[in-house]
Amino acid sequence: MKLLVCLKQILDPDVPARDFQIDPAARAARRGGANLVTNIFCENAVETALQLREAAGGDVKITALCYGESSAEDCLRKAMAMTVDEACLVERDGNTNPDAAAVGRVLAAAIRRLEQDGGPFDAVLVGRESGDWGVGQTGGLLAEELGRPALGFVESLQPGNGGVTLRRQTDVGIEVAEAESPFLVTITNNEDNVPRIPKTRDVMMSYRKPLQKLSLADLELDSEEIRAGSSIFEVEEIFIPADEVECELAEGDTLEERVDQLAKRIHEVVASIG
């Protein structure tokens, strides 16, 4: 079995709100002193793939793929330190925030290139959304580019009857699905796919694993449209919301009085809904 996991490098989403700034010219967040990290749902996807390999017991090869700057090599090395077998970086050239259509086309072309020898990946795993822009469209668009069936919000993949059994989270609870290869899933988090911490030995080993670098030209995607990455959408405006809402705090000498005030306000709103 062969699995492919897509990774995105993002600005650390845990930057406190007080340190968060917008670069108006770039129409994006200013990096400031923040770290670049692997998007958490992408790490959940790596962990989910590793667990499928462990459950399948046999010969399962996992490849990590990223479309990003050269700094994204760190994300791929970390994935290999988590014991992913090999990695591929498609070097981004142009818009640092390409739309999901451009990303989908680049990833699809890279996947087809990687599949040239050895046939299709049984499963392509993509994080459900990113912790920066969080648009969450890449997985679906990539599935269409590849012409493969897809399922969203998957939390685990297990070897099934001749295929793979998927569990996923929906509004109403867990759904179980059977998939035949090749297919795509977007991965969400649950308590069982928390990304493992790489062992020191595996971190050392990760530098000996193959990391292939491809350019847009290598993928025959050396076009202005892909570079601009804004064929379906672009950021028109971005701003930090004025969050200083005036909160009316319950006042009064006794707890009884304060809670009474709160109760009246809540009752008012509830009664107005009818």
């Binding site: 379906i232 809402v245 009474d260 809904i273």
Partner: protein, 323 residues
């Protein structure tokens, strides 16, 4: 002539989210002088069809029995064919924020040669483009996207939109038979979580608890409060991750995005990823011991007090007021 479509799943009926999506669709249609069409994936109840016909100029239903059992590949095929059956001249196809609509949206956009966008809190037409406003960077910023290709296929934070108004006369209803292939991924089982009442996204009032509760037991106390005012219960990521309550209670960036009339946050500090899930609520009330907690910058009223002191007393008072 350009129109607007709202695409809903028949099995979900004309719920509050679908009403909001239709409302957003009607406002957009009026702004461009077009019609509002409802595209319905799968059989729907007579009541739901009548309710859709009352607000839309046209209703097209893909009534194949097979569509009653949701399968993503077939729902997607259905949406694509319904788009054509409705006339195909849509500037926007709007969906609501259930899991199924979320996974269909980008793929439908790709098949229709359009743009896709997720979780829009506001939309408006700008020439041939659609502008969609949403949160970014885990709620730390608001972004406005220009969607450049038609149709713009957008799933909405649907409950945040006013329901569609009824029209003077009901729209035409057409049932169409769609050509569906067997799905290549098949959903074979559902372990439906025990959920009382309505979906969290559709609840007009939500009582949520967070890390400050310290364990699962206090949620029983919060349930009494919720029951007193007809509210559903939610929770922060910390409370869900700790296993105190089921994961489908989670409100936030990685959980549900809700926009109720009233959201009561109890022992929730208000991390940006939580605010992203409930920031569009009409009224927010907070109970927290920490006067500097970020939640107090995002609420209309609140009380700086230990929830243990407040909740039982508050419940008692609200029960009395309701009675």
């Amino acid at each position: 002539m350009a129109n607007v479509a709202v695409c809903v799943l028949g099995s979900l009926g004309y719920d509050r989210a679908a009403q909001g999506a239709a409302g957003a669709g009607r406002a957009l249609a009026e702004s461009i002088g077009g019609e509002l069409h409802a595209l319905v994936i799968g059989p729907a109840s007579d009541d739901a069809v009548a309710a859709l016909a009352a607000v839309a100029d046209r209703v097209v239903i893909g009534a194949n029995e097979a569509l009653g059992d949701y399968q993503p590949e077939q729902a997607l095929q259905a949406a694509q064919q319904l788009h054509a059956a409705g006339g195909g001249d849509y500037v926007a196809v709007l969906l609501s924020n259930d899991t199924y609509s979320q996974e269909i949206a980008p793929r439908l956009a790709h098949r229709l040669g359009g743009s896709s966008m997720a979780d829009a809190a506001a939309i408006r037409a700008d020439g041939d483009h659609l502008l969609a406003q949403r949160t970014a960077y885990g709620g730390k910023a608001i972004s406005i996207y220009r969607l450049k290709k038609q149709p713009a296929v957008v799933w909405l934070r649907a409950r945040g939109f006013e329901p569609a108004p009824e029209q003077p006369s009901p729209g035409d209803v057409t049932n169409v038979d769609l050509a569906l292939d067997p799905p290549r991924i098949r959903i074979t089982g559902r372990e439906v979580a025990a959920q009382e009442g309505v979906r969290l996204e559709d609840a007009p009032v939500i009582v949520s608890g967070g890390r400050g509760l310290g364990g699962p037991e206090p949620f029983q106390e919060l349930k009494k409060l919720a029951d007193a005012i007809g509210a559903e219960q939610g929770a922060s990521r910390a409370a869900c991750d700790a296993g105190w309550v089921p994961p489908n209670w989670q409100v936030g960036q990685t959980g549900k995005k809700v926009a109720p009339e009233l959201y009561i946050a109890i022992a929730i500090s208000g991390a940006s990823q939580h605010l992203l899930g409930m920031g569009d609520s009409k009224v927010v009330a907070a109970i927290n011991t920490d006067a500097d907690a970020p939640i107090f910058k995002h609420c209309s009223f609140g009380i700086v007090e230990d929830y243990k002191q407040v909740v039982p007393l508050l419940t008692e008072k609200l029960q009395a007021m309701a009675g």
